[in-house]
Symmetry: C2
Subunit: 402 residues, 2 copies
């Protein structure tokens, strides 16, 4: 698959975007972005499982309610999450949506919204409203880059990917996507936003199912659901403007696997850009009783501060990895668990293995570390990606609002 | 209750202890400790829920098996956890126990053991065996202080407490206890050890029940079970040498409430000495549907790296606290949740409250921070104690084994 990393949401036909610095952020960086489809697009979305849902999520859910959710545009801001802001927060999100609809001359039911930033502060609505004319007038089909920047918070780089996939001689479709993440990844509240566009023609029912599956196989292995921010949102707009109808099971399979690849790319970028991250860790959990339990084991390791700090320090303290596994509620017999660091088995059949500690130390000093946990409890496997916990993570998060 | 902080396990009658630097630790600090009762003591114990249990736990469980567990002594080392060490690890623990029994001229079934330190390394048994004669010959009833030091790992101070409680005119009993903790507290694997002695005369059945309840009301609110290290152990020896028999419900209630107070004191000290901790946080969860759910909510906040780093930075980012609550599986209606920082309500009835941010900033800059989460979902309350996550936590844990 020929992934393009310099393009995202405006690569598919009939999508335009823009991003500007409206002044929500004090530092003058882009903080307001918009995506618009030239025609109405079938739309799927996945939102946070957090019991406190931010105002933009409530407003978007409202607009997507019903059997055939559609949209024309999405307005997004960074710098303020508009979460835990009560009725005033909902009014603010509605006002921004209405203003965008007015300038695009579409129904306000066709505009979705998302926010990311500090929780518990009211949205500076006036600042945003003032900037909407400029934001809309700058819409074009090459501004995906600045959109990707406008959604960043503590992200160090914009995350984007696009791809064109041929279906037959004269038929192809495109997918473009961008995301923001950072945060500590697995943990509780690093807001993740992702916007996906496609010019494929796909029916509603399929679209939501495909998105849910692809999110399960990508963002949920670094963590989204269950343990999510007040604002996490993933949107997928399909406007059909390529003329490529995907109806057969085979065609839909191609779309699904492409979507999974695209979202996995973004998920990996999010981990690499984890707040303060200095090392990327690939956790392979093998032979679990179920896929969910394999992911659970990987996440138990990935969320452990003791494991994460050991990795930051390049400290081959593998006992902490197994101790994290031992605390996990997945089903396995500890006497059958094997732990490999790279290709070296360090613990197997209830016995520590003879290994050259300097080899393990060397593996732990790399930028990319791979560990395999073989549970020998079944046939399912999963990969979970995580990063280390560094001084910079503490610094970034100790000084976030102030 | 007149708690004494300069005494611990040898304050009750008929208990002797000692602690020495045997050479397990490279830095010359005490690393080997022993507790001995002059007569056989009814013994209760609570161990880690981790699926990987360290060798000393397996050996101690074996010795405590049966309907009437008793013991005469406990040998403890720091500097090496003897966990994930396979059959060799079990043999090492058995050899140390046997050697102690030989020098004390008691049965090896009467000796318990515990270890704390790095996981996955074999116990330096020869070093320990060589030191046992000196350890035993130095036993006396005033060496509780050096015992408390001998069990420390990254602890900055020894944790001990003792108390004498009158039951009637001429009857009283004493309880002494010491613990080691540090680690990040709530998280996964900071080993916690606690040793409690009493000269009260209590029957087996009661003893185990009382210990389990007291641990539930103390260490489990800072975290032990479910989320525990390979080595966590709490031992309670009751030798009856005060001559005070506790048999009536009223007498047992007095013992239980004393034990809870003692263990809560130690639990609080453990949090204050959390690795790198600079602030102590008291989380009061009110009006939960059940006590367990109240604890769950407190722990969800206490384990959140985003909350912990905000507290370290003195950053009044209260949205992160509610976001952690929102991710928790306890039952509540988010629209009914109230959050107070100190006595200031910051969020109530789904609305952020008007508060002077500088007041909240001031509260967050204190060494002790109190937050109350009122769920309005029932009648149960719980307190959970936690600490912040600082640069030093990362430093301590990034450099632990090396």
């Amino acid at each position: 698959m020929n992934l393009k990393y310099d393009r995202s949401i405006t690569f598919p036909k009939g999508f335009r975007a823009n991003g500007i610095a409206s002044g929500i952020k004090q530092n003058g960086l882009p903080d307001l972005g918009i995506i618009v489809s030239d025609s109405i697009a079938n739309t799927a979305a996945v939102f946070t499982q957090n019991k406190f849902q931010a105002a933009p999520i409530l407003v978007s859910k409202d607009n997507l309610a019903g059997p055939a959710p559609k949209s024309r545009g999405i307005i997004v801001n960074s710098g303020c999450a508009n979460a835990l802001t009560g009725k005033a927060g909902i009014k603010s999100a509605q006002r921004v949506v209405a203003e965008v609809a007015k300038h695009l001359r579409i129904s306000k039911k066709e505009v979705l919204t998302a926010s990311t930033g500090v929780i518990g502060r009211q949205l500076p609505t006036d600042v945003i409203i003032e900037s909407i004319p400029a934001l809309v007038s700058g819409l074009d089909n090459e501004s995906d880059g600045v959109f990707s920047q406008s959604i960043m918070t503590t992200d160090k780089f914009p995350k984007q990917v696009a791809v064109e996939v041929p279906i037959s001689k004269n038929k192809s479709f495109r997918i473009g996507a961008t995301a923001k993440g950072a945060g500590m990844i697995h943990p509780n509240m690093a807001t993740m936003l992702c916007f996906i566009t496609t010019d494929a023609d796909i029916e509603h029912k399929q679209l939501q199912t495909l998105l849910r599956r692809a999110v399960g196989a990508s963002f949920n292995t670094i963590t989204v659901d269950g343990d999510t921010s007040t604002n996490d949102s993933v949107f997928l707009m399909a406007n059909g403007l390529s003329g490529t109808k995907l109806r057969t099971l085979g065609e839909l399979k191609i779309f699904e696997s492409t979507l999974k690849t695209v979202l996995r790319e973004l998920a990996t970028m999010i981990v690499r850009d984890g707040e303060g991250a200095t090392r990327f860790v690939r956790l392979i959990v093998e032979a679990a009783a179920t896929y969910d339990e394999a992911v659970k084991v990987g996440r138990a390791i990935g969320v452990s501060p003791l494991v994460k700090t050991a990795i930051f320090g390049g400290d081959p303290n593998w006992g902490r990895v197994l101790s994290a596994v031992g605390n996990c509620e997945a089903r396995f017999n500890p006497a059958k668990v094997e732990l490999r660091i790279g290709s070296y088995s360090v613990f197997k059949k209830n016995e520590p293995q003879k290994v050259d500690l300097s080899v393990i130390e060397h593996l732990f000093s790399q930028k990319e570390i791979e560990m395999t946990i073989r549970l020998n409890a079944g046939r399912e496997s999963a990969q979970v990606f995580t990063c280390d916990l560094s001084y910079d993570y503490v610094k970034i998060n100790g000084e976030y609002t102030t």
